[in-house]
């Protein structure tokens, strides 16, 4: 059983608790153990990088050092946390002075960073480490006919980590196909959810959210799937504000990919945190869930 150090990040404690629940449920079903990193701290979000990057790297490095102590790779379900910790590791790898400076700070908490654990995004673990075939093999309730908009957002893909294709990724579509659902051509799948602008520039943020939602509606998606708590919250919880600002009538459910995978694995909706959303998910999935299982395998 593959085991990872799990870094939930601040959002998953409450605001995105359904992501937390569904991440644990689905990984367990897929034979993966997520061991929550003990006493993890905030990754610094964007704010720390606005003030002092050395300090931001230190916050991330503390988490990395704790994962190393467990001899496990670190998994983050939040794209922001993932990006921060992935690139902190890169900076420390290439800058010995920086690593030494930060290690002196970490010594205050009896920790040492060496760079032995790698940093993964949860969706990467599904798509790459588990693999589509293995997921497909465990599907008991294929989400046949469910049209899903795969919303990548930004920081899973960007900045570029090596030479990978950041313009035409396929892994989210392939994951959706693996659970029997239908990925739609979602034109704005790589566009930004507005991130923290939802707080710092509400007008710009709502207009960006509106574009994303309307694009999903145009591509006839029944539901949007995300892999980041900030994307999910911006797209879902601010729909009312979007409708008020622009006179629209948007009502698009937005879920975490883990919730969809969980449904396909036959896990009851409630255990995946479905029911805690502001735009109800059940109407979009009820028909699919109540469909009779296919009689024969083709």
């Amino acid at each position: 059983m593959k085991k990872y150090a799990y870094f939930p990040g601040c959002s998953l404690e409450k605001m995105a608790h359904s992501y937390h629940m569904s991440a644990l449920e689905t990984t367990r079903a897929l034979g993966i153990e997520l061991k929550e990193l003990e006493d993890w701290n905030c990754c610094g979000a964007t704010a720390y990088f606005h003030v002092d990057e050395l300090l931001a790297f230190t916050l991330c490095a503390r988490n990395l050092a704790m994962a190393e102590k467990e001899k496990l790779d670190l998994v983050a379900p939040c794209s922001g946390c993932y990006k921060n910790m992935f690139f902190t590791r890169e900076h420390l790898k290439h800058d010995a002075d920086l690593a030494e400076h930060i290690n002196e700070a970490l010594a205050e908490d009896n920790l040492h960073y060496a760079g032995t654990s790698s940093v993964r995004h949860l969706i990467e673990v599904f798509a790459h480490d588990v693999g589509f075939d293995a997921i497909k093999a465990k599907v008991t309730k294929p989400l046949k006919g469910l049209r899903v908009a795969p919303y990548y957002g930004c920081q899973i893909l960007r900045p570029r980590k090596a030479k990978e294709d950041v313009e035409q990724p396929r892994f989210f579509e392939d994951l959706i196909s693996a659970i029997g659902a239908e990925p739609v051509d979602y034109l704005l799948r790589l566009s930004c959810c507005s991130g923290a602008l939802i707080i710092t520039n509400r007008r710009a943020a709502l207009s960006m959210v509106r574009n994303l939602l309307e694009c999903a509606v145009r591509s006839k998606a029944a539901i949007i799937a995300t892999a980041c708590p900030l994307c999910q919250v911006n797209l879902e919880c601010y729909q009312k504000q979007v409708n008020r600002e622009f006179g629209t009538d948007l009502n698009v459910p937005v879920v975490y990919f883990t919730q969809l995978v969980g449904l396909a694995l036959g896990i009851p909706p409630k255990r995946l945190g479905i029911g805690s959303e502001l735009v109800a998910v059940m109407p979009a999935i009820r028909e699919v869930l109540e469909a009779e299982p296919a009689v024969a395998n083709t």
Partner: protein, 204 residues
């Protein structure tokens, strides 16, 4: 800027030929960046076209324009722009720049530059938000949404405020808002760790 300017070391005592241009200042700010220097920019405008905020018309100066302004030495105007505070860090500009300039990194750099000098445009929520966030993490090690709300609610009119409160209430009812801030266990070690990197401030 300050009353002691004439007797202290400031620009007034400096011979102008000794001063390096603004574009060099920015290059020094980004000395650790792996991207190419902004002097290599060809002003193609890919950054501005790909930026969801600039193309929505929300920035007073587009990223392309900011780079042109830096190179022409419009220091004051650059620092007072809202551009970098309205950057959402989506990195589209960075991955698409044909010259390999890390434009998002430039935006982060400009944020730091203006935070340290408190020279940013007035009335922006971004700097206050970052400040609140940084302080919050230093106190507890983790983020707590209700505290963050205090940074922007004051900018709202009554209808927005009511809508915001409704959203917060719905989230609360769904169990999605924390009632109490979370706190890491080894907080004292954590604080000493921070003080090692920035060794100022009174001991709490």
């Amino acid at each position: 800027m300050n009353a002691t300017a004439e007797t202290s070391v400031t620009a007034t005592t400096a011979p102008p030929e000794d001063r390096i241009p603004f574009v060099e200042e920015i290059k020094n700010l980004l000395y650790a960046s792996k991207g190419n220097p902004i002097s290599t920019c060809i002003q193609c405008g890919t950054c501005s076209a790909t930026c969801p905020v600039a193309s929505g018309g929300f920035m007073d100066n587009s990223p392309r324009r900011i780079i042109a302004m830096i190179r022409s030495g419009f220091k004051e105007q650059v620092l007072k722009s809202n551009t970098f505070w309205y950057c959402a860090s989506c990195y589209q500009c960075t991955v698409r720049c044909p010259r390999g300039i890390d434009i998002a990194e430039l935006m982060y750099g400009l944020k730091r530059f203006t935070v340290w000098r408190t020279e940013h445009q007035e009335g922006l929520i971004g700097p206050t938000f970052s400040e609140t966030f940084v302080k919050m993490i230093m106190r507890t090690g983790r983020s707590y949404e209700p505290v963050l709300a205090t940074t922007y609610l004051f900018t709202y009119g009554l209808p927005e405020m009511i809508l915001e409160a409704q959203t917060a209430t719905s989230l609360m009812l769904k169990g999605r808002l924390p009632l109490l801030p979370a706190r890491i266990k080894r907080l004292e070690n954590f604080k000493r760790m921070i003080r090692h990197i920035i060794p100022i401030g009174d001991k709490e």
